[in-house]
Amino acid sequence: MLNFLAVVVLLLSAAPDFTNDKIDHTFIISFNNKVGNNDLHLDSQNYRNSFGEIFTVHQFKYYISNIELRDSISGDSEKFPDKYFLIDEGDSMSKIISLNTSLPHITSIKFMIGVDSLKNVSGVQSGDLDPAKGMFWTWNTGYIMAKLEGESPSAQTAGHRFSFHAGGYKKDENTARVVVLKLPQQQRNNVMIEADAAKWFDALHEIKIEAAPACHEPGKLAVMLADNYSEMFSIPQNK
Protein backbone atom coordinates (compact mmCIF):
# COMPACT_ATOMS: atom_id res chain seq x y z
CA MET A 1 0.00 0.00 0.00
CA LEU A 2 2.71 2.40 1.03
CA ASN A 3 4.58 1.33 -2.07
CA PHE A 4 1.60 2.21 -4.15
CA LEU A 5 1.35 5.62 -2.52
CA ALA A 6 5.01 6.13 -3.23
CA VAL A 7 4.43 5.32 -6.87
CA VAL A 8 1.56 7.80 -7.02
CA VAL A 9 3.68 10.49 -5.45
CA LEU A 10 6.47 9.65 -7.85
CA LEU A 11 4.16 9.86 -10.84
CA LEU A 12 2.91 13.20 -9.65
CA SER A 13 6.38 14.52 -9.20
CA ALA A 14 7.53 13.07 -12.47
CA ALA A 15 4.87 14.91 -14.43
CA PRO A 16 7.01 17.40 -16.32
CA ASP A 17 7.10 20.94 -15.03
CA PHE A 18 10.26 22.61 -16.23
CA THR A 19 9.62 26.07 -14.85
CA ASN A 20 11.56 25.20 -11.71
CA ASP A 21 14.78 23.24 -11.56
CA LYS A 22 14.09 22.03 -8.02
CA ILE A 23 11.65 19.22 -8.50
CA ASP A 24 11.56 15.88 -6.84
CA HIS A 25 13.29 13.13 -8.73
CA THR A 26 15.06 9.92 -7.94
CA PHE A 27 18.78 9.79 -7.47
CA ILE A 28 20.29 6.37 -7.79
CA ILE A 29 23.48 5.30 -6.12
CA SER A 30 24.84 2.00 -7.33
CA PHE A 31 27.67 0.14 -5.69
CA ASN A 32 30.22 -1.83 -7.62
CA ASN A 33 32.33 -4.07 -5.41
CA LYS A 34 35.86 -4.83 -6.51
CA VAL A 35 39.11 -6.33 -5.32
CA GLY A 36 41.86 -4.06 -6.54
CA ASN A 37 41.22 -3.62 -10.25
CA ASN A 38 39.10 -6.73 -10.63
CA ASP A 39 35.37 -7.08 -10.26
CA LEU A 40 34.38 -9.06 -7.20
CA HIS A 41 33.01 -12.54 -7.86
CA LEU A 42 31.97 -14.50 -4.80
CA ASP A 43 33.71 -17.82 -4.14
CA SER A 44 34.81 -18.49 -7.69
CA GLN A 45 37.83 -16.28 -8.08
CA ASN A 46 41.23 -16.05 -6.39
CA TYR A 47 42.56 -12.66 -5.40
CA ARG A 48 45.82 -11.57 -3.86
CA ASN A 49 46.30 -8.87 -1.24
CA SER A 50 49.35 -6.62 -1.07
CA PHE A 51 51.11 -9.11 1.20
CA GLY A 52 50.81 -11.80 -1.43
CA GLU A 53 48.15 -13.69 0.50
CA ILE A 54 45.77 -15.50 -1.81
CA PHE A 55 42.08 -15.48 -0.92
CA THR A 56 38.56 -15.97 -2.18
CA VAL A 57 35.57 -13.95 -0.98
CA HIS A 58 32.52 -15.75 0.31
CA GLN A 59 30.58 -12.82 1.72
CA PHE A 60 30.97 -9.09 1.40
CA LYS A 61 28.35 -6.94 3.12
CA TYR A 62 28.24 -3.48 4.61
CA TYR A 63 25.71 -0.98 5.90
CA ILE A 64 25.30 2.41 4.27
CA SER A 65 23.36 5.00 6.27
CA ASN A 66 23.00 8.69 7.13
CA ILE A 67 23.36 9.71 3.52
CA GLU A 68 23.61 13.39 2.68
CA LEU A 69 23.53 14.71 -0.86
CA ARG A 70 25.15 18.08 -1.49
CA ASP A 71 24.74 20.60 -4.22
CA SER A 72 27.66 23.00 -4.04
CA ILE A 73 26.28 25.10 -6.87
CA SER A 74 23.17 26.14 -4.96
CA GLY A 75 24.74 25.44 -1.56
CA ASP A 76 21.82 23.17 -0.63
CA SER A 77 22.01 19.73 0.85
CA GLU A 78 19.55 17.00 1.72
CA LYS A 79 19.78 14.40 4.45
CA PHE A 80 18.27 10.94 4.62
CA PRO A 81 18.53 10.20 8.32
CA ASP A 82 16.19 7.27 8.60
CA LYS A 83 17.41 5.22 5.69
CA TYR A 84 19.62 2.20 6.23
CA PHE A 85 20.84 0.01 3.43
CA LEU A 86 22.59 -3.32 3.66
CA ILE A 87 24.77 -3.67 0.59
CA ASP A 88 25.29 -7.36 -0.03
CA GLU A 89 27.47 -8.60 -2.88
CA GLY A 90 25.31 -11.74 -2.93
CA ASP A 91 22.13 -9.76 -3.67
CA SER A 92 22.39 -7.57 -6.75
CA MET A 93 19.22 -5.60 -5.92
CA SER A 94 20.76 -4.50 -2.65
CA LYS A 95 23.55 -2.73 -4.51
CA ILE A 96 21.21 -0.11 -5.90
CA ILE A 97 20.00 2.64 -3.58
CA SER A 98 17.28 4.92 -4.75
CA LEU A 99 16.65 8.26 -3.05
CA ASN A 100 14.08 10.93 -3.65
CA THR A 101 15.64 14.35 -3.87
CA SER A 102 14.96 17.80 -5.28
CA LEU A 103 18.60 18.76 -5.70
CA PRO A 104 19.25 19.47 -9.37
CA HIS A 105 23.02 19.07 -9.48
CA ILE A 106 24.64 16.81 -6.95
CA THR A 107 28.32 17.47 -6.50
CA SER A 108 29.25 15.46 -3.47
CA ILE A 109 27.85 12.74 -1.27
CA LYS A 110 28.42 12.02 2.37
CA PHE A 111 27.44 8.77 4.05
CA MET A 112 28.21 6.49 6.90
CA ILE A 113 29.52 2.99 6.46
CA GLY A 114 27.88 1.25 9.38
CA VAL A 115 24.98 1.99 11.70
CA ASP A 116 24.97 4.99 14.05
CA SER A 117 25.07 4.36 17.80
CA LEU A 118 21.44 5.37 18.30
CA LYS A 119 20.21 2.38 16.32
CA ASN A 120 22.59 0.17 18.30
CA VAL A 121 20.85 1.01 21.55
CA SER A 122 17.20 1.16 20.48
CA GLY A 123 16.07 -2.44 20.54
CA VAL A 124 15.03 -4.53 17.57
CA GLN A 125 14.75 -2.78 14.20
CA SER A 126 13.11 -3.95 11.00
CA GLY A 127 13.90 -3.84 7.28
CA ASP A 128 17.60 -3.95 6.45
CA LEU A 129 18.36 -3.48 10.15
CA ASP A 130 16.46 -6.63 11.14
CA PRO A 131 18.86 -8.70 13.30
CA ALA A 132 17.73 -11.72 11.27
CA LYS A 133 19.92 -10.36 8.47
CA GLY A 134 22.83 -11.84 10.37
CA MET A 135 24.62 -8.52 10.75
CA PHE A 136 24.07 -8.40 14.49
CA TRP A 137 25.76 -9.68 17.62
CA THR A 138 23.09 -11.03 19.92
CA TRP A 139 25.24 -11.76 23.01
CA ASN A 140 26.99 -8.40 23.08
CA THR A 141 24.50 -6.04 21.52
CA GLY A 142 25.58 -4.30 18.39
CA TYR A 143 25.49 -4.27 14.63
CA ILE A 144 28.19 -5.79 12.52
CA MET A 145 28.85 -2.72 10.40
CA ALA A 146 30.63 -4.60 7.66
CA LYS A 147 31.63 -8.15 6.94
CA LEU A 148 34.26 -9.72 4.71
CA GLU A 149 34.55 -13.49 4.73
CA GLY A 150 36.36 -15.96 2.59
CA GLU A 151 39.00 -18.64 2.40
CA SER A 152 42.74 -18.29 2.24
CA PRO A 153 45.61 -20.77 2.51
CA SER A 154 47.16 -18.20 4.85
CA ALA A 155 44.36 -18.67 7.40
CA GLN A 156 45.38 -21.33 9.92
CA THR A 157 41.78 -22.10 10.80
CA ALA A 158 39.15 -24.77 10.10
CA GLY A 159 38.56 -24.83 6.35
CA HIS A 160 41.18 -22.06 6.00
CA ARG A 161 38.37 -19.62 6.53
CA PHE A 162 38.93 -16.03 7.46
CA SER A 163 36.09 -13.84 8.70
CA PHE A 164 36.24 -10.17 9.43
CA HIS A 165 33.10 -9.04 11.24
CA ALA A 166 33.67 -5.44 12.19
CA GLY A 167 31.33 -3.97 14.78
CA GLY A 168 31.27 -1.87 17.91
CA TYR A 169 29.53 1.43 18.53
CA LYS A 170 30.84 2.56 21.91
CA LYS A 171 33.41 5.25 22.49
CA ASP A 172 36.90 4.20 21.42
CA GLU A 173 35.44 1.10 19.78
CA ASN A 174 33.29 2.73 17.15
CA THR A 175 33.49 1.07 13.76
CA ALA A 176 31.07 3.30 11.87
CA ARG A 177 32.92 5.68 9.58
CA VAL A 178 31.81 8.77 7.71
CA VAL A 179 32.88 9.03 4.12
CA VAL A 180 32.68 12.05 1.83
CA LEU A 181 33.09 11.60 -1.88
CA LYS A 182 33.25 14.33 -4.51
CA LEU A 183 31.61 13.57 -7.80
CA PRO A 184 33.93 14.05 -10.79
CA GLN A 185 31.16 15.98 -12.48
CA GLN A 186 27.80 17.12 -11.17
CA GLN A 187 25.00 14.61 -11.51
CA ARG A 188 21.24 14.86 -11.41
CA ASN A 189 20.17 11.24 -11.61
CA ASN A 190 22.81 8.76 -10.59
CA VAL A 191 26.27 7.95 -9.42
CA MET A 192 28.29 4.77 -9.24
CA ILE A 193 30.49 4.13 -6.22
CA GLU A 194 33.22 1.55 -6.23
CA ALA A 195 34.15 -0.35 -3.08
CA ASP A 196 37.52 -2.06 -3.08
CA ALA A 197 37.61 -4.99 -0.66
CA ALA A 198 41.40 -5.20 -0.95
CA LYS A 199 41.64 -2.01 1.10
CA TRP A 200 40.48 -3.96 4.18
CA PHE A 201 43.99 -5.41 4.45
CA ASP A 202 46.21 -2.41 3.99
CA ALA A 203 44.59 1.02 3.53
CA LEU A 204 45.75 2.51 6.85
CA HIS A 205 46.81 -0.48 8.93
CA GLU A 206 48.42 -3.70 7.81
CA ILE A 207 46.13 -6.62 8.59
CA LYS A 208 47.44 -9.95 7.39
CA ILE A 209 45.10 -12.90 7.16
CA GLU A 210 47.83 -15.09 8.60
CA ALA A 211 48.12 -12.94 11.73
CA ALA A 212 44.44 -12.13 12.22
CA PRO A 213 42.09 -14.51 10.41
CA ALA A 214 39.05 -13.65 12.52
CA CYS A 215 37.37 -10.65 14.04
CA HIS A 216 34.19 -11.50 15.94
CA GLU A 217 33.92 -8.83 18.59
CA PRO A 218 34.36 -5.11 19.04
CA GLY A 219 37.82 -3.88 19.95
CA LYS A 220 41.16 -3.03 18.47
CA LEU A 221 41.12 -5.27 15.41
CA ALA A 222 37.59 -4.17 14.52
CA VAL A 223 38.62 -0.53 14.76
CA MET A 224 41.63 -1.11 12.52
CA LEU A 225 39.42 -2.83 9.97
CA ALA A 226 37.05 0.13 10.15
CA ASP A 227 39.86 2.59 9.52
CA ASN A 228 40.79 0.53 6.52
CA TYR A 229 37.35 0.18 5.03
CA SER A 230 36.67 3.87 5.44
CA GLU A 231 39.17 4.21 2.58
CA MET A 232 37.63 1.68 0.25
CA PHE A 233 35.16 3.90 -1.59
CA SER A 234 35.79 5.92 -4.71
CA ILE A 235 33.87 7.29 -7.64
CA PRO A 236 35.46 6.39 -10.98
CA GLN A 237 35.94 9.08 -13.62
CA ASN A 238 33.92 9.18 -16.83
CA LYS A 239 31.43 6.43 -16.34
Binding site: L5, V8, S126, N140, T141, H165
Partner: protein
Amino acid sequence: MKIYKAVILIIFFVIAGISWIGRNNMSERTHLLKFVVPEGWPQPVYDFKNNPLTEEGFQLGRKLFYDGRLSKDGNFPCASCHQQFAAFATYDHSLSHGFHNSLTRRNAPGLFNMAWQKEFMWDGGINHLDLQPLAPISDTMEMAENINDVIQKLRSDEEYRKMFKAAFGDEIINTQRMTKALSQFVLMMVSNNSKYDRVMRGEDSFNLPQKLGYDIFKQKCASCHAEPLFTDLSYRNTGFPVDSFLMDYGRMKITRNAGDSLKFKVPSLRNAQVTFPYSHDGRMFSLLSMMDHYRKSVVKSPTTDSLVKNGIKLSNFEIGQLTAFIYTLTDSVLLRDTRFAPPGYEKRTQQAPAEHQHIYKQ
Protein backbone atom coordinates in the same frame (compact mmCIF):
# COMPACT_ATOMS: atom_id res chain seq x y z
CA MET B 1 -1.70 16.66 -18.62
CA LYS B 2 -3.90 18.47 -16.09
CA ILE B 3 -6.58 15.78 -16.20
CA TYR B 4 -3.91 13.15 -15.74
CA LYS B 5 -2.65 14.91 -12.64
CA ALA B 6 -6.14 15.42 -11.25
CA VAL B 7 -6.98 11.74 -11.67
CA ILE B 8 -3.85 10.72 -9.84
CA LEU B 9 -4.63 13.19 -7.08
CA ILE B 10 -8.11 11.77 -6.63
CA ILE B 11 -6.76 8.23 -6.47
CA PHE B 12 -4.25 9.42 -3.93
CA PHE B 13 -6.88 10.92 -1.64
CA VAL B 14 -9.16 7.90 -1.89
CA ILE B 15 -6.33 5.58 -0.88
CA ALA B 16 -5.16 7.89 1.87
CA GLY B 17 -8.72 8.03 3.16
CA ILE B 18 -9.12 4.26 3.16
CA SER B 19 -5.87 3.75 4.97
CA TRP B 20 -6.88 6.35 7.53
CA ILE B 21 -10.14 4.57 8.22
CA GLY B 22 -8.22 1.29 8.41
CA ARG B 23 -5.94 2.77 11.04
CA ASN B 24 -8.86 3.80 13.19
CA ASN B 25 -10.32 0.32 13.08
CA MET B 26 -7.06 -1.12 14.28
CA SER B 27 -6.78 0.95 17.41
CA GLU B 28 -10.34 -0.04 18.28
CA ARG B 29 -9.37 -3.67 18.12
CA THR B 30 -6.48 -3.57 20.60
CA HIS B 31 -7.00 -3.12 24.31
CA LEU B 32 -4.38 -1.12 26.13
CA LEU B 33 -2.85 -2.69 29.23
CA LYS B 34 -1.87 -0.50 32.10
CA PHE B 35 1.63 -0.79 33.51
CA VAL B 36 1.46 0.25 37.14
CA VAL B 37 4.60 1.63 38.75
CA PRO B 38 4.47 0.64 42.42
CA GLU B 39 4.36 3.59 44.76
CA GLY B 40 7.76 4.92 45.75
CA TRP B 41 9.58 3.01 43.01
CA PRO B 42 11.80 4.71 40.44
CA GLN B 43 10.44 5.23 36.93
CA PRO B 44 10.98 2.23 34.64
CA VAL B 45 13.62 2.60 31.94
CA TYR B 46 11.81 0.58 29.29
CA ASP B 47 10.46 2.85 26.55
CA PHE B 48 6.77 1.94 26.51
CA LYS B 49 6.04 4.58 23.88
CA ASN B 50 7.80 2.42 21.32
CA ASN B 51 5.94 -0.68 22.40
CA PRO B 52 2.58 0.17 23.97
CA LEU B 53 1.30 -2.72 26.05
CA THR B 54 -1.92 -4.26 24.82
CA GLU B 55 -3.87 -7.31 25.87
CA GLU B 56 -3.39 -8.70 22.35
CA GLY B 57 0.39 -8.14 22.37
CA PHE B 58 0.64 -9.65 25.84
CA GLN B 59 -1.28 -12.79 24.84
CA LEU B 60 0.89 -13.15 21.75
CA GLY B 61 4.00 -12.83 23.89
CA ARG B 62 2.63 -15.41 26.25
CA LYS B 63 2.08 -17.91 23.44
CA LEU B 64 5.59 -17.27 22.14
CA PHE B 65 7.10 -17.64 25.62
CA TYR B 66 5.62 -21.12 25.95
CA ASP B 67 6.19 -22.22 22.34
CA GLY B 68 8.98 -24.74 21.75
CA ARG B 69 9.13 -23.79 18.10
CA LEU B 70 11.27 -20.84 19.07
CA SER B 71 14.11 -23.33 19.59
CA LYS B 72 15.81 -25.41 16.96
CA ASP B 73 14.51 -28.84 17.93
CA GLY B 74 11.21 -27.71 19.37
CA ASN B 75 12.02 -28.68 22.96
CA PHE B 76 13.20 -25.48 24.54
CA PRO B 77 10.71 -22.66 24.83
CA CYS B 78 11.64 -19.70 27.00
CA ALA B 79 9.56 -21.34 29.71
CA SER B 80 11.77 -24.44 29.80
CA CYS B 81 14.49 -22.36 31.42
CA HIS B 82 12.29 -19.63 32.90
CA GLN B 83 9.71 -21.43 35.05
CA GLN B 84 6.96 -19.53 36.78
CA PHE B 85 7.13 -21.44 40.08
CA ALA B 86 10.83 -20.49 40.25
CA ALA B 87 10.07 -16.81 39.61
CA PHE B 88 11.01 -17.58 35.99
CA ALA B 89 14.48 -18.90 36.84
CA THR B 90 15.33 -22.59 36.23
CA TYR B 91 14.21 -24.44 39.34
CA ASP B 92 17.00 -26.38 41.05
CA HIS B 93 19.46 -26.25 38.14
CA SER B 94 22.86 -24.61 38.33
CA LEU B 95 22.96 -24.46 34.54
CA SER B 96 19.92 -24.91 32.29
CA HIS B 97 19.50 -27.54 29.61
CA GLY B 98 19.54 -26.47 26.01
CA PHE B 99 19.69 -27.89 22.52
CA HIS B 100 21.42 -31.27 22.06
CA ASN B 101 22.09 -32.02 25.73
CA SER B 102 24.09 -28.85 26.01
CA LEU B 103 24.06 -26.74 29.12
CA THR B 104 23.90 -22.98 29.22
CA ARG B 105 27.06 -21.28 30.35
CA ARG B 106 25.31 -19.42 33.11
CA ASN B 107 22.58 -19.80 35.69
CA ALA B 108 19.21 -18.60 34.43
CA PRO B 109 18.14 -15.58 36.48
CA GLY B 110 14.58 -14.99 37.57
CA LEU B 111 12.56 -12.71 35.32
CA PHE B 112 10.67 -9.92 37.03
CA ASN B 113 10.88 -6.15 37.23
CA MET B 114 12.62 -6.18 33.84
CA ALA B 115 11.11 -2.79 33.01
CA TRP B 116 13.63 -1.23 35.39
CA GLN B 117 16.66 -2.88 33.85
CA LYS B 118 18.77 -1.19 31.22
CA GLU B 119 21.19 -4.01 30.59
CA PHE B 120 20.59 -7.73 30.60
CA MET B 121 22.48 -10.95 31.26
CA TRP B 122 25.01 -11.43 34.06
CA ASP B 123 27.56 -9.40 32.15
CA GLY B 124 25.15 -6.73 30.88
CA GLY B 125 26.02 -7.57 27.29
CA ILE B 126 22.52 -6.94 25.98
CA ASN B 127 21.35 -3.35 26.03
CA HIS B 128 17.61 -3.66 25.39
CA LEU B 129 14.95 -6.06 26.64
CA ASP B 130 13.57 -6.54 23.12
CA LEU B 131 16.93 -7.95 22.04
CA GLN B 132 17.18 -10.51 24.81
CA PRO B 133 15.17 -13.30 23.09
CA LEU B 134 17.57 -13.27 20.15
CA ALA B 135 20.42 -14.62 22.27
CA PRO B 136 18.83 -17.97 23.15
CA ILE B 137 17.06 -18.26 19.77
CA SER B 138 20.26 -18.07 17.75
CA ASP B 139 22.14 -21.21 18.63
CA THR B 140 25.64 -20.12 17.73
CA MET B 141 26.98 -17.21 19.71
CA GLU B 142 28.26 -15.57 16.62
CA MET B 143 25.48 -15.33 14.08
CA ALA B 144 21.80 -14.62 14.28
CA GLU B 145 21.06 -16.69 11.24
CA ASN B 146 18.38 -19.01 12.48
CA ILE B 147 16.11 -16.19 13.62
CA ASN B 148 14.88 -16.49 10.05
CA ASP B 149 13.82 -20.10 10.60
CA VAL B 150 11.80 -19.12 13.64
CA ILE B 151 10.09 -16.30 11.76
CA GLN B 152 9.28 -18.71 8.91
CA LYS B 153 7.72 -21.17 11.35
CA LEU B 154 5.55 -18.42 12.81
CA ARG B 155 4.52 -17.14 9.39
CA SER B 156 3.29 -20.54 8.32
CA ASP B 157 1.03 -20.85 11.37
CA GLU B 158 -2.44 -19.47 10.91
CA GLU B 159 -3.04 -18.93 14.61
CA TYR B 160 0.06 -16.74 14.81
CA ARG B 161 -0.96 -14.77 11.74
CA LYS B 162 -4.26 -14.01 13.50
CA MET B 163 -2.56 -13.06 16.73
CA PHE B 164 0.04 -10.81 15.08
CA LYS B 165 -2.78 -9.10 13.24
CA ALA B 166 -4.74 -8.61 16.44
CA ALA B 167 -1.70 -7.19 18.20
CA PHE B 168 -0.11 -5.10 15.47
CA GLY B 169 -2.88 -4.37 12.96
CA ASP B 170 -1.77 -6.62 10.11
CA GLU B 171 -0.35 -10.06 9.50
CA ILE B 172 3.24 -8.99 9.04
CA ILE B 173 5.44 -11.23 11.19
CA ASN B 174 9.03 -10.12 11.69
CA THR B 175 11.76 -10.16 14.31
CA GLN B 176 10.76 -6.77 15.67
CA ARG B 177 7.16 -7.70 16.29
CA MET B 178 8.00 -11.09 17.76
CA THR B 179 10.45 -9.60 20.23
CA LYS B 180 8.15 -6.71 21.12
CA ALA B 181 5.39 -9.17 21.96
CA LEU B 182 7.76 -11.23 24.12
CA SER B 183 8.81 -8.05 25.90
CA GLN B 184 5.18 -7.15 26.58
CA PHE B 185 4.68 -10.47 28.31
CA VAL B 186 7.89 -10.26 30.32
CA LEU B 187 7.39 -6.59 31.25
CA MET B 188 4.14 -7.38 33.01
CA MET B 189 5.98 -9.67 35.43
CA VAL B 190 6.25 -7.11 38.17
CA SER B 191 7.19 -8.45 41.57
CA ASN B 192 5.90 -6.17 44.30
CA ASN B 193 3.55 -8.31 46.32
CA SER B 194 5.85 -10.10 48.73
CA LYS B 195 5.39 -9.90 52.46
CA TYR B 196 8.16 -7.29 52.48
CA ASP B 197 6.09 -5.13 50.10
CA ARG B 198 2.99 -5.53 52.21
CA VAL B 199 4.96 -4.50 55.27
CA MET B 200 6.31 -1.46 53.44
CA ARG B 201 2.75 -0.54 52.46
CA GLY B 202 1.67 -0.89 56.07
CA GLU B 203 -0.60 -3.85 55.33
CA ASP B 204 1.35 -6.43 57.32
CA SER B 205 4.18 -6.62 59.82
CA PHE B 206 7.44 -8.56 60.19
CA ASN B 207 7.86 -11.10 62.95
CA LEU B 208 10.93 -10.63 65.13
CA PRO B 209 13.50 -12.66 63.14
CA GLN B 210 12.35 -10.99 59.92
CA LYS B 211 12.66 -7.57 61.47
CA LEU B 212 16.13 -8.26 62.86
CA GLY B 213 17.09 -9.73 59.49
CA TYR B 214 15.92 -6.58 57.73
CA ASP B 215 18.10 -4.44 59.98
CA ILE B 216 21.16 -6.60 59.33
CA PHE B 217 20.35 -6.58 55.63
CA LYS B 218 20.24 -2.79 55.48
CA GLN B 219 23.64 -2.68 57.15
CA LYS B 220 25.53 -5.40 55.33
CA CYS B 221 23.86 -6.14 52.03
CA ALA B 222 21.74 -3.21 50.84
CA SER B 223 24.61 -1.18 49.38
CA CYS B 224 24.56 -3.64 46.48
CA HIS B 225 21.19 -5.36 46.85
CA ALA B 226 19.44 -2.01 47.06
CA GLU B 227 15.71 -1.60 47.71
CA PRO B 228 13.18 -1.64 46.22
CA LEU B 229 14.57 -3.79 43.37
CA PHE B 230 17.09 -5.46 45.70
CA THR B 231 19.83 -4.75 43.20
CA ASP B 232 21.57 -1.52 42.27
CA LEU B 233 22.17 -3.11 38.82
CA SER B 234 25.92 -2.49 39.08
CA TYR B 235 28.63 -5.02 38.24
CA ARG B 236 30.74 -6.32 41.13
CA ASN B 237 33.29 -8.95 41.91
CA THR B 238 32.21 -10.69 45.10
CA GLY B 239 35.27 -12.89 45.26
CA PHE B 240 34.25 -16.01 43.38
CA PRO B 241 37.31 -17.52 41.67
CA VAL B 242 36.93 -18.20 37.96
CA ASP B 243 35.57 -21.63 37.08
CA SER B 244 38.40 -23.35 35.22
CA PHE B 245 36.03 -25.02 32.77
CA LEU B 246 33.67 -22.11 32.03
CA MET B 247 36.42 -19.46 32.13
CA ASP B 248 33.78 -16.80 32.59
CA TYR B 249 35.24 -13.39 33.39
CA GLY B 250 31.86 -11.67 33.29
CA ARG B 251 31.70 -7.99 32.52
CA MET B 252 35.23 -7.92 31.15
CA LYS B 253 34.07 -9.83 28.11
CA ILE B 254 31.81 -6.92 27.22
CA THR B 255 34.04 -3.98 28.10
CA ARG B 256 37.44 -5.60 27.38
CA ASN B 257 38.62 -3.69 30.44
CA ALA B 258 40.76 -5.68 32.88
CA GLY B 259 39.23 -3.61 35.67
CA ASP B 260 35.96 -5.44 35.03
CA SER B 261 37.41 -8.91 35.41
CA LEU B 262 35.09 -11.30 37.30
CA LYS B 263 32.41 -8.67 37.78
CA PHE B 264 28.81 -9.78 37.44
CA LYS B 265 25.54 -7.94 37.65
CA VAL B 266 24.21 -7.76 41.20
CA PRO B 267 21.17 -10.06 41.08
CA SER B 268 17.89 -9.09 42.70
CA LEU B 269 17.20 -10.98 45.90
CA ARG B 270 13.47 -10.84 45.35
CA ASN B 271 12.15 -14.41 45.19
CA ALA B 272 15.62 -15.75 46.09
CA GLN B 273 13.86 -18.48 48.07
CA VAL B 274 12.87 -20.15 44.80
CA THR B 275 15.68 -19.16 42.43
CA PHE B 276 18.38 -21.44 43.89
CA PRO B 277 21.05 -22.45 43.04
CA TYR B 278 22.78 -19.09 43.18
CA SER B 279 25.46 -16.97 41.54
CA HIS B 280 26.23 -16.52 37.85
CA ASP B 281 27.11 -20.19 37.31
CA GLY B 282 24.89 -21.64 40.00
CA ARG B 283 27.78 -22.93 42.08
CA MET B 284 26.08 -22.03 45.38
CA PHE B 285 23.30 -24.40 46.32
CA SER B 286 21.67 -22.62 49.23
CA LEU B 287 21.31 -19.25 50.90
CA LEU B 288 23.45 -20.62 53.68
CA SER B 289 26.31 -21.52 51.34
CA MET B 290 25.99 -18.11 49.70
CA MET B 291 26.31 -16.32 53.00
CA ASP B 292 29.07 -18.67 54.07
CA HIS B 293 30.93 -17.52 50.99
CA TYR B 294 30.61 -13.88 52.03
CA ARG B 295 32.04 -14.55 55.45
CA LYS B 296 34.64 -17.25 54.71
CA SER B 297 35.74 -17.72 51.14
CA VAL B 298 35.91 -14.37 49.36
CA VAL B 299 38.96 -14.52 47.07
CA LYS B 300 40.88 -11.27 46.93
CA SER B 301 41.92 -10.01 43.53
CA PRO B 302 42.50 -6.52 42.17
CA THR B 303 38.85 -6.21 41.20
CA THR B 304 37.25 -7.70 44.33
CA ASP B 305 34.73 -5.21 45.68
CA SER B 306 35.96 -3.26 48.69
CA LEU B 307 32.69 -4.01 50.51
CA VAL B 308 33.41 -7.73 50.55
CA LYS B 309 37.20 -7.83 50.17
CA ASN B 310 37.76 -8.74 53.79
CA GLY B 311 34.65 -10.84 53.99
CA ILE B 312 31.34 -9.78 55.49
CA LYS B 313 31.19 -10.55 59.19
CA LEU B 314 28.13 -12.67 59.85
CA SER B 315 27.34 -14.85 62.85
CA ASN B 316 25.27 -18.00 62.50
CA PHE B 317 22.53 -16.17 64.31
CA GLU B 318 22.65 -13.29 61.83
CA ILE B 319 22.53 -15.71 58.92
CA GLY B 320 19.35 -17.17 60.39
CA GLN B 321 17.76 -13.73 60.67
CA LEU B 322 18.88 -12.73 57.18
CA THR B 323 17.39 -15.92 55.78
CA ALA B 324 14.11 -15.18 57.52
CA PHE B 325 14.13 -11.72 55.96
CA ILE B 326 15.03 -12.95 52.47
CA TYR B 327 12.08 -15.36 52.62
CA THR B 328 9.80 -12.33 53.03
CA LEU B 329 10.85 -11.31 49.50
CA THR B 330 9.03 -14.27 47.97
CA ASP B 331 6.15 -12.96 45.88
CA SER B 332 3.52 -15.67 45.92
CA VAL B 333 1.17 -13.48 43.91
CA LEU B 334 3.60 -13.44 40.98
CA LEU B 335 4.41 -17.14 41.32
CA ARG B 336 0.73 -18.02 41.08
CA ASP B 337 -0.52 -15.33 38.74
CA THR B 338 -2.44 -17.27 36.09
CA ARG B 339 -1.82 -14.55 33.51
CA PHE B 340 1.73 -15.86 33.26
CA ALA B 341 0.80 -19.53 33.10
CA PRO B 342 0.79 -21.34 29.73
CA PRO B 343 -1.86 -20.04 27.29
CA GLY B 344 -5.29 -21.47 27.96
CA TYR B 345 -4.39 -22.26 31.56
CA GLU B 346 -7.31 -20.27 32.95
CA LYS B 347 -9.74 -22.48 31.07
CA ARG B 348 -8.30 -25.67 32.49
CA THR B 349 -8.24 -24.71 36.15
CA GLN B 350 -8.42 -21.77 38.46
CA GLN B 351 -5.83 -23.32 40.79
CA ALA B 352 -2.05 -23.04 40.84
CA PRO B 353 -0.14 -26.27 40.23
CA ALA B 354 -0.39 -28.28 43.43
CA GLU B 355 3.07 -29.81 43.47
CA HIS B 356 4.78 -26.53 44.08
CA GLN B 357 2.41 -24.96 46.55
CA HIS B 358 4.67 -25.69 49.51
CA ILE B 359 7.28 -23.19 48.48
CA TYR B 360 4.92 -20.23 48.75
CA LYS B 361 4.54 -20.63 52.47
CA GLN B 362 6.75 -18.39 54.48
